[in-house]
Symmetry: C2
Subunit: 136 residues, 2 copies
């Protein structure tokens, strides 16, 4: 299946029609080997750079949120003025280089199993995220 067909499938699954703009967003997001960490603003600029076509900021927001809701993108819990997303939606953790404001993946093996020994009645665990901040 060509990557364009995959994009269309992802969009349809997310209840989005496959428009030119959204295909361009997909092209930047999913047409890559390695995991991709980004802010909306990063993505907005990369679309212009890579596809030569401008997509409005509102469309970028809407599309990213739809993908996030569907599970094609993961939001990374981090303190920053901007929200960070990750195309790697598997269960994994992150380094955050505070100085450079850059994220680096940590494989699950790099951290080992995390066993939460406390529970809250009526609540279940949705996710466990480890953030390792790095300094020089």
């Amino acid at each position: 299946m060509s990557s364009k067909q995959e994009f269309i499938k992802k969009l349809r699954n997310s209840n989005l029609r496959p428009t030119k703009q959204r295909i361009n967003i997909c092209d930047v997001l999913f047409n890559r080997d390695k995991t991709f960490h980004f802010t909306i603003n990063d993505l907005f600029n990369l679309i212009k750079d890579k596809t030569g076509q401008k997509v409005s900021l509102a469309t970028v927001y809407n599309t990213v949120h739809a993908f996030h809701k569907k599970g094609y993108l993961k939001e990374i819990p981090i303190n920053s003025n901007q929200t960070y997303f990750d195309t790697n939606v598997s269960d994994h953790h992150h380094f955050f280089d505070v100085k450079e404001e850059k994220l680096i993946d940590l494989k699950n093996e790099d951290v080992g199993p995390i066993d939460i020994q406390k529970s809250i009645p009526g609540k279940k665990i949705k996710s466990v995220e480890v953030l390792v901040k790095l300094e020089d």
Copy 2:
């Protein structure tokens, strides 16, 4: 030592003069048994409620940031439009009840040791934070 004397000490250590406003902020922050998780806006409103005196938002921001810099407050990495702080500056982790937008402390024993097996040349680990999201 009275709590007021402690507040003054904390303020001096943070390079802040002990003003009436800042003492009121300290009163809400540090005059309590349990750990306190808050946003700036929470704190701003609690000062009015508890002390009956209004402190300007700018002063709350400035004071909280000075305490954070000095290590009297800890910032909690979490995805939210607002920044969360914690008066418990010891090494510990958090539950986050997504629905209620509420944080709950996890003792270190509740999580167990976290052994990061990967390292980045030239960088050292500043902190390791575990965030466990809860759902119903």
